[in-house]
């Protein structure tokens, strides 16, 4: 059983279509990056997965229907929306007490251990903490829950570079050591590139690219073409073309590395290069990259 299995997931707000038939399959232990521009439907997709919004189509998360069985699902799934959702009146010890009181898989000692590495005092209220500290607190709470699925929706939004790096380092080192599955939506793409095992690009409610990172790294190549070889390079059917400092830069899907080396400088494209190519060029040639 896949951790998340969606078929034809659809969601419309009035006439605005937020999700336009999404298929998604996330196996246990994968770390999936859900990546797309603002308004692409990332949050709507995550809300559907978490049982926060009704939807059309088929969706099973850990074998449960999230919309009708949210409270059961939340025994095995945890969620950080963004740093602004912890109740502002709550004190740190109250958050610890409350989670220990309602969540059978919450390990209070573990949360205390994580907090010991921070400067967050037990008696502080959430509203007295800085944004970075609130993120640390939320992460400490969530990492102390022995969940099978962790969903993160822009968890580092508004944090500075240091906190963002620390956030993902902590997550990688102290949490992702077992068979946990993570779904992460973000548009700070480069920072999570090394964390992910799988990648889904989503744009205007549709999946425009879905592959594993291994696949991503072996399939896609970026060629900065030598000026005299542009015609030859174009003949290899790049799916995206742009111009950088007067030179032509082409993106290829599944073209042999050696053949491209003869035409110019070859490198592996970053996720953001690909996102720009696939999302910005989606009306035309980009269809070759989508599924």
């Amino acid at each position: 059983m896949a951790t998340i299995e969606a078929r034809g997931l659809r969601k419309a707000y009035g006439r605005t279509v937020a999700l336009d038939g999404i298929d998604l399959r996330v196996e246990e232990g994968r770390i999936l990056g859900l990546i797309g521009p603002n308004g692409a439907g990332k949050t709507t997709a995550l809300n559907a997965i978490l049982g926060l919004t009704p939807y059309q189509g088929e969706l099973k998360v850990l074998g449960l229907d999230p919309w009708t069985e949210r409270d059961r699902l939340m025994l095995d799934a945890s969620f950080i929306a963004d740093v602004a959702v912890l109740p502002r009146w709550m004190r740190v010890w109250q958050a610890l007490d409350y989670l220990a009181g309602v969540h059978p898989r919450f390990d209070r000692a573990r949360a205390e251990g994580f907090l010991a590495n921070t400067t967050i005092g037990r008696d502080r209220r959430v509203r007295e903490l800085s944004k970075g500290m609130v993120a640390q607190l939320h992460l400490a709470l969530v990492m102390a829950i022995d969940a099978k699925l962790l969903v993160l929706d822009e968890p580092t939004l508004g944090l500075d570079l240091l906190f963002r790096k620390q956030f993902f380092d902590t997550l990688l080192n102290d949490y992702l050591d077992r068979s946990r599955t993570v779904v992460l939506a973000t548009h700070q793409v480069e920072e999570v590139q090394d964390v992910l095992t799988d990648l889904v690009f989503i744009d205007r409610g549709r999946v425009v690219l879905a592959c594993s990172m291994d696949e991503f790294e072996s399939r896609y190549l970026e060629l900065t073409v030598n000026p005299d070889r542009v015609a030859a390079a174009r003949a290899l059917e790049p799916f995206h073309e742009r111009s950088v400092f007067g030179r032509t830069v082409l993106l290829f899907d599944g073209v042999d590395h050696a053949r491209l080396t003869a035409l110019g400088e070859v490198r592996r494209p970053g996720i953001s290069d690909m996102l720009l190519a696939v999302v910005a060029g989606r009306t035309g040639a980009a269809d070759g990259a989508g599924r």
Partner: protein, 291 residues
């Protein structure tokens, strides 16, 4: 899945309401303290009043000796009502307004548990809190009153037989149960509106009734609906108590009419309405999507 059974979602949900809404116990405490202090101001006249109990102006003296207990109790009832009304109006709207609902919904606590925990504040917690503080105020007033009367050489026995602290305490408990049941449709309605309205819950909760009363007055020149509203607020008095003309020094407990109260059809209609409101509020909390 073997979940340890040490979690108590309902109990902790109630406790967290008390953390967030400290006015639930602070307001009744403050009112009880103020009422007790006001009683202290009248203390110098108490021995005289107790002596007058044996004289011709006995009825009047009884009112002076007994009255403060009724006053403390009435202030407690009014506080419970006001706090309950404002608590209910915000109970389900506040968590959507500050987006903390995303945190609450990330935990394995069902919408039913959450809404019922919130409903327990006006139905159970506030009556208990008001009873506890009123009883404590009675105790302090009796002890101090006894000391003052004894020091002045007046009859302590007369004081106790006319102040009737124990009967008064029982009457207060009875009245609090009566109030919670009689006002149940009001609290239920306010919780429903709080779960439904995006903002200005107070207006949505009150305006329809003002409008109906106004329209009736204009179209038919009658005030039946206004009487209905008055009954909704104060109808419990005539149903649950029978204050005879001759009980000025009287049989306090004999004035309680639980059978009449419980056989009032509108009580049961109101309770059914409250139950329906709570059922709708639970559905609304499930369905309302995060902002």
């Amino acid at each position: 899945m073997s979940a340890p059974s040490t979690t108590r979602p309902f109990r902790w949900s109630v406790r967290r309401e008390l953390w967030e809404n400290r006015s639930v116990w602070i307001a009744p405490l403050a009112v009880a303290i103020l009422a007790t202090l006001a009683f202290f101001v009248t203390l110098p006249g108490l021995p005289g009043s107790v002596r007058a109990l044996a004289g011709p102006d006995m009825a009047n003296a009884h009112m002076v000796v007994h009255g403060p207990y009724g006053g403390v109790a009435l202030l407690g009832f009014a506080t419970a009502f006001v706090v309950g009304v404002f608590y209910c109006l915000d109970a389900l709207q506040g968590e959507r307004r500050d987006r903390s609902i995303l945190f609450w919904k990330s935990l394995p606590v069902s919408d039913r548990t959450t809404v019922l925990a919130k409903a327990s504040i006006p139905f159970i917690v506030l009556p208990l809190v008001v009873f506890a503080f009123t009883a404590a105020a009675f105790l302090i007033m009796m002890l101090v009153g006894t000391a003052v009367v004894a020091a002045a050489g007046a009859s302590v026995g007369m004081l106790w037989s006319h102040a009737e602290p124990f009967q008064s305490g029982l009457s207060v408990l009875y009245a609090l149960v009566v109030l919670a049941l009689w006002h149940a449709p009001i609290y239920g309605w306010l919780l429903l509106v709080s779960g439904w309205a995006r903002r200005t819950a107070l207006l949505w909760a009150v305006l329809p009734f003002v409008a109906i009363a106004g329209v009736e007055r204009i179209l038919f020149g009658t005030t039946r609906f206004a009487y209905f509203l008055e009954d909704l607020l104060l109808g419990w008095v005539s149903r649950a108590f029978a204050f005879g003309s001759d009980d000025a020094m009287g049989d306090m407990l004999g004035a309680l009419t639980p059978v009449t109260f419980l056989s009032t059809p509108s009580l049961w209609i109101g309770l059914a309405f409250a139950a329906a409101c709570l059922a709708i509020a639970i559905r609304l909390r499930h369905k309302r999507e995060p902002a």
